[in-house]
Symmetry: C2
């Protein structure tokens, strides 16, 4: 592909931004030189990454940057290396990023690059949102989950002991650079967790993608580059469309929370450690479909198709032994989707047909908690 041409654009008026998708983009000096240098050509750049991803991918980025700048002999990219893992997605860690920006005298027209998965992107983005009331940032997602979901759309933030992503901001990146080559170093467990978000996009609004996933599950698990690229592109297109129509989640965008109200409860109750985000979302998807079926809104065959697909992808559909129904209920009371004390859920009328409801049958909700948790 011609890397100078974005695969997609997120249309948000004067804050629109391109999504570049391709194999090897982190080493593409021409692309990075243009993107990172900015309109004036001189600025500081901080690469926020973690202690797993940084050693794997930052050297390629540094080399491409050195090539791009050439005779300019510009300083190397500043690396801010965070500890790996969702349990470090806290205000304290963001404070450390800001300390580093202050210590290196970053100004409003300097740039932050998020190199890593969803945790790195959420924290780097939130630091960019808050530092000097907002500086620019570029997402360079290196996990499937971040590539298909969290790097697009401008949701940034951190967890609070009381709940997932309770502190944050909407702050759109200036660009997303998705190098699908990074998926080749992804641990299988992370790959499966990312596939849960691919399944989510299909369930929400793309029955064709769902059928494609059923046909291509093995190729995806085997890291087939063409299959992965197709999944990334399709999910980014779905999400870019939804975000362009409803940036601040006043309506349609809430559909992207399918499986997340249940999933966040699992993560909150278990303390952001044992369950990867995507793993918890997979259980949440199974719970949302199970509940939709119990409420009489979703054909049993559709719920069975989801369970079968998640099983083929090696994803659990219950969190028994990990989370009790009571603990999940308490965690959900603090969910951001609570309105007038009742949580608004994303449910399904069919595969590819998600809808929002705060008028769901309590017995279906209770039975779903009982069936998937203990």
């Amino acid at each position: 592909m011609n890397t100078a041409t974005p695969a997609l654009t997120v249309g948000l008026g004067d804050r629109s931004y391109p999504i570049f998708i391709g194999d090897g983009l982190l080493g593409d000096a021409a692309l990075l030189g243009g993107l990172l240098a900015g309109p004036r050509g001189v600025r500081k750049i901080a690469v926020v990454t973690n202690d797993i991803v940084g050693p794997l991918h930052a050297p390629r980025l540094q080399a491409a940057w050195a090539t791009a700048r050439g005779a300019d002999a510009s300083a190397p990219l500043l690396e801010i290396v965070l500890p790996d893992g969702e349990r470090h997605k806290t205000l304290e860690t963001v404070s450390r990023i800001i300390d580093a920006l202050v210590a290196n005298r970053f100004a409003r027209d300097d740039l932050i690059v998020a190199l890593g998965g969803g945790v790195v992107g959420d924290m780097a983005g939130f630091a960019a949102a808050c530092y000097q009331r907002g500086i620019g940032f570029v997402q360079m997602p290196t996990t499937l989950l971040a590539q298909v979901d969290s790097s697009v759309g401008g949701k940034t933030g951190v967890n609070h002991p009381g709940g997932k992503n309770l502190i944050g901001a909407f702050h759109q990146p200036q660009a997303v650079v998705t190098d699908t080559a990074t998926l080749r170093t992804l641990p299988p467990r992370e790959l499966r967790a990312g596939l849960a978000e691919v399944v989510k996009h299909a369930l929400i609004c793309d029955a064709e993608l769902f059928a494609w996933l059923e046909a291509n599950a093995d190729a995806l698990l085997a890291l087939d580059p063409a299959a992965l690229a197709h999944a990334v592109r399709r999910c980014c297109a779905i999400k870019a469309g939804i975000v362009a129509r409803d940036e601040r989640e006043t309506g349609e965008r809430a559909l992207l929370n399918l499986g997340h109200t249940f999933g966040h409860a699992i993560e909150t109750v278990t303390g952001y450690g044992p369950w990867l985000h995507g793993e918890a979302v997979a259980v949440g998807l199974a719970m949302a479909t199970g509940m939709s079926q119990r409420a009489g809104w979703l054909p049993a065959a559709d719920a069975a198709r989801l369970d079968a697909l998640l099983a083929r992808l090696g994803l659990r559909t219950e969190a028994r032994g990990s989370v009790t129904p009571e603990a999940a209920r308490a965690a959900m009371r603090l969910d951001k989707k609570v309105r007038d004390g009742r949580v608004r859920l994303v449910l399904l009328k069919g595969i590819g047909q998600a809808f929002l409801s705060d008028d769901w049958p309590t017995d279906a909700f209770d039975a779903t908690l009982a069936a998937h948790l203990s």
Copy 2:
């Protein structure tokens, strides 16, 4: 006045909001009942205040709320009481506000009220900006400085040891309720500090207000209600107009930083304690006019008028013995107005005629630092 009619409106499309100004508004049950109850009538309300202002004014607010709710027998307003003072305007204190919101299960459609001066408003507003990626808040400023300046315009944030307001967000309030009766309990030093921001507004764009200040300095210092109300209304009108035209400070709004680049440096160097914000701004105004005069842009008579007015208001025009030129220079390098390594300053061509410049004579800058600092 009819309290149901806002004195002014900040015009920002669907985020426009009213500014109510009047004597005794914190006890106005009809106004508060309508404003705080919200469209659905049921929500939680947290009053963020400090240990000085809370005891003085929160009881009146609670009583008015109880009257407004009447037979609804709604819960009292939750009070979140912070320690007083600019040195507590930190990410840690905002984290405490958020902890209280989480502990009390605040949701996205609940409300924060900032009852206090600029420090309380900046922190309550930043907590509102970040909690669940943004919940509503109402400003109830109780200091002159907050009433004429910081409560309007949506700048929220906290300080960092490396610089003033380095962490923050733009987040507009849903309303501003300014009870000028609160000024009667204001310590004289705080009153004078607030008057520095009134002088700033006049210097930027309102020569008539400047002349009025010269004629009414004694009335203001004597807490004359009509004089104070005039100053508050005039400043809010100026600021509302500027914010409506340039919310995100891409142009004209930067004029409101007159005196603040120098003032922030004084606050940063002295550690956010000995100098009140307005006191530091007064020195900054004198430095901006002094520098404008040295550069040949401002008539000496205008600079002399400012010095005389600040002296009559009991405000210092230099920070000698407190801040050295070298320390101020270092602090200014991290100012948010730095572009391409050079700080952009607000300077003057005349009283009421401020302009932005990043092409100022270095010798005028150096001489100004030497004249006002040591």
